[in-house]
Amino acid sequence: MSQVKSVAGQDLRDMFSAAASWLEKSSADIDALNVFPVPDGDTGTNMMLTMRSTMDEAYRAPDHSAAGIAHAMARGALMGARGNSGVILSQIWRGLAQGLEDKEDFTAADLAAAFQKAAQIAYKGVSRPVEGTMLTVMKDAASATQAEVDAGNEDVISVLEATVNAAAESVANTPMLLKVLKDAGVVDAGGQGVYTILEGALRYLRGETELMRLRKPQIIVSELPHVATQPQSIAIDEVPYGYCTEFLLKGEKLDPEVIKKKLLRKGESLIVVGDDSAVRIHIHTLTPGNILQFAAKLGTMHQVSVRNMDEQHQDFLEMQKERMPATDTAVIAVAAGDGLSDVFGSLGAAAVVPGGQTMNPSTKDILQVVESTFSDKIIILPNNKNIIATANQVQSLTQKKIAVVPTRTIPQGVVALLAFDYEAEFNDNAEIMEKALSSVKTIEVTRSVRATKINGLKIKRKQPIGLLDGELIAVADTNIEVISQLLTRLDIGKAEVVTIYCGEDTEAAEAEQISTSITERYPQLQSELIRGGQPHYSYIISVE
């Protein structure tokens, strides 16, 4: 691919315009990452609205130079910033504009310098910067950009790739830096927003506009156990949050630094950003009147918003209560692969412990998740024959009531979880779930690690092999053949549903082909293809 050494101002506008639409698609998902009492009730929406205002102004730029566009964006962002995250985002654009000062177009080196400036200005706007937020993500992204340029890369696209990768890593790391995120099992919403914007810009430059129309940004999942559907335990905090007070102050000869100093002791989460003619102020205070009175002396106030955060918190608690499951029993599953983890989460598992073949979790790993899950009655699905014993150990180490349903494979884990009865008592439920195991057959396809002879089969190293309910009974030169051999061993006339989970390295085309061939061969079957993302096994297939 040819290198892009310089990008014109117009492309700067178009790439962030595309990024804004990209962000818009995931704003609801980003909202869902919010953790109260982290300020800002709806980060995704706020960032999206800020980006709209940013890009509206970009289209009104007086010229098409990079500097002109960037300045217009900064102006638009300041005028339309919403919420904490929006204000910080506006600082990022302001820094970018300063970094691109006088540039007609920009090179990779210019971009690196501008990102550095953006991170720097973003930090400056916040009175007490917190790590593990969008500030950290912007900083990490900027350093990676600089490092790539310093390494001699001049291609804007591949430099931006390094930026985006670093941003992703940084987002995944936010729970390590900020405890509230870790407790809630989510990544920082604002950081996710910054990543999504950068990713959107990169995709545009790569010419993936068609794909952007069809797909939707991914929310980054951290290394922590994936807590999918269950809200974290609700701590009733007695400290009042006060009022989230936000407005745009217009006047002459305003000095954001002086205003910031004056307001510093008046509340929490203070942000003051802007220039001498317009300043945006965001503060959480118990006395919004005093803030407004003070500001009224300096100029005129616009877009004034004062919201009672205690009320918001109350609403939030109510909402969490409504989302509470109808039962007091929680199910924890062990699974490797983001896709499988999502499957268990979507089916109601309270948490997923990462682990599986060749990466068995320790008793302590499972215990930790058990303790952090807010129910006192927990059913564990080990989903691997080597993990059942480990899971059985947990009971002796916790006060909680534990039942282990001895699931030996992922498909067994799924049918057990599906059979969960919301009305049944704890012990009955474990029994009901265990009973369901006989209704599924598991096919696993992997590659032999060495040449061997087993069950009368001669197996070469790296040859595809197939297991039926844990027993190695098929070998062939292709995955397709292995699966076909295994299916003939099953009483498939009685089966109704086939679910194919593809592994992390499985080729999509091959998976499609397998799925289609199964439906052609057994038309009565309903077949479903799911990305499991599991390591080692190219396919895990459930036959019910």
Binding site: T229, E322, R323, P325, A326, D342, V343, S346, L347, G348, V414, L418, A419, F420, D421, Y422, E423, S439, E496, V497, T499, Q526, E528, I530, E544
Partner: protein, 281 residues
């Protein structure tokens, strides 16, 4: 004078059965865009389900007006001085309010009791049937009302859903919301608990759903009444009835079609089984 019984169309009591039982059924309304139909009076179930799946926008539903009930009360008051009104769960519809307001409009011209069935479909229908039996046996309004109140906790509705899309969009998902968002295609099995929808479990196919419903029924040792209803799949419902025949006389199982207003939330391919437990002796 014998007590007259009134219910709404959500009881899924068909016109024929209503005539036989001497029950007056007040229709709710179902709306497609600008067009409003009286449930099962101006739109048949067949027509409804055809449009439900073919039209791009989903229908909505409205409770009967207080006046609808008032008209019914007025007419019945000419023949009786005691009316028992059994309506759909007040957590699922505002029908209870309309029926109560209409009672006030009557200003004591007739003794009226309005009971919230805390259920829907045949979950309420079997209660209505039990009430008519009691009235036939000579129960007065107070006795019949007491009987209905006791029957509410013995009526168990279990429903197989092909999808929760309609229930969720219609805002009636209740405690079953936890079943939404599955990455696998699953068929939820729900029940009605304390007047609203609640999850029971999930299956992956119709036949697994039928298995579940049969096993569910087999748990009861004292069955007073049973009903099976379907939205668009009479064959599956027949199969279910056939299987239930092993635990309860098939010919005594009431068959019904899920009425359009309920169908707005159940969607096509749904099936429901209701068991009215017998009273402990």
């Amino acid at each position: 004078m014998a007590v007259k019984i009134v219910t709404d169309t959500l009881s899924d009591i068909t016109e024929d059965l209503a005539k036989e039982l001497g029950v007056t059924v007040v229709p709710l309304y179902v709306r497609f865009g600008e067009e409003i139909y009286r449930d099962r009076v101006e739109i048949t179930s067949e027509e409804f389900y055809r449009r439900l799946v073919s039209e791009s926008s989903l229908p909505s539903t409205t409770q009967p007006t207080p006046n609808d009930f008032y008209q019914v009360y007025e007419t019945l008051a000419k023949e009786t001085d005691e009316i028992l009104v059994i309506v759909v769960s007040s957590k699922l519809s505002g029908t209870y309010q309309s029926a109560t307001q209409a009672k006030e409009m009557m200003e004591g011209k007739c003794r009226i009791e309005v009971v919230d069935s805390l259920s829907v479909a045949m979950g309420m229908g079997l209660i209505v049937i039990a009430a008519t039996d009691a009235v036939k046996a000579g129960a007065n309004l107070d006795e019949a009302t007491q009987l209905v109140r006791r029957a509410i906790s013995r009526s168990h509705l279990t429903a197989y859903f092909d999808t929760l899309k309609y229930l969720a969009k219609g805002g009636r998902i209740g405690k079953a919301s936890g079943l939404l968002g599955s990455l696998l295609s699953v068929k939820p099995i729900l029940t009605v608990k304390e007047g609203e929808m609640a999850p029971l479990t999930r299956v992956r196919s119709v036949s697994a759903g039928i298995d579940y419903l049969c096993n569910y029924a087999a748990e009861f040792s004292n069955i007073e009444g049973m009903a099976v209803e379907h939205a668009t799949t009479p064959d599956d419902a027949d199969q279910l009835v056939e299987r239930l025949g092993a635990i309860y006389p098939k010919e005594r199982i009431y068959r019904a079609v899920i009425s359009p207003v309920v169908g707005t939330y159940s969607g096509p391919n749904a099936m429901a089984l209701t068991i009215l437990e017998g009273e402990k002796k």
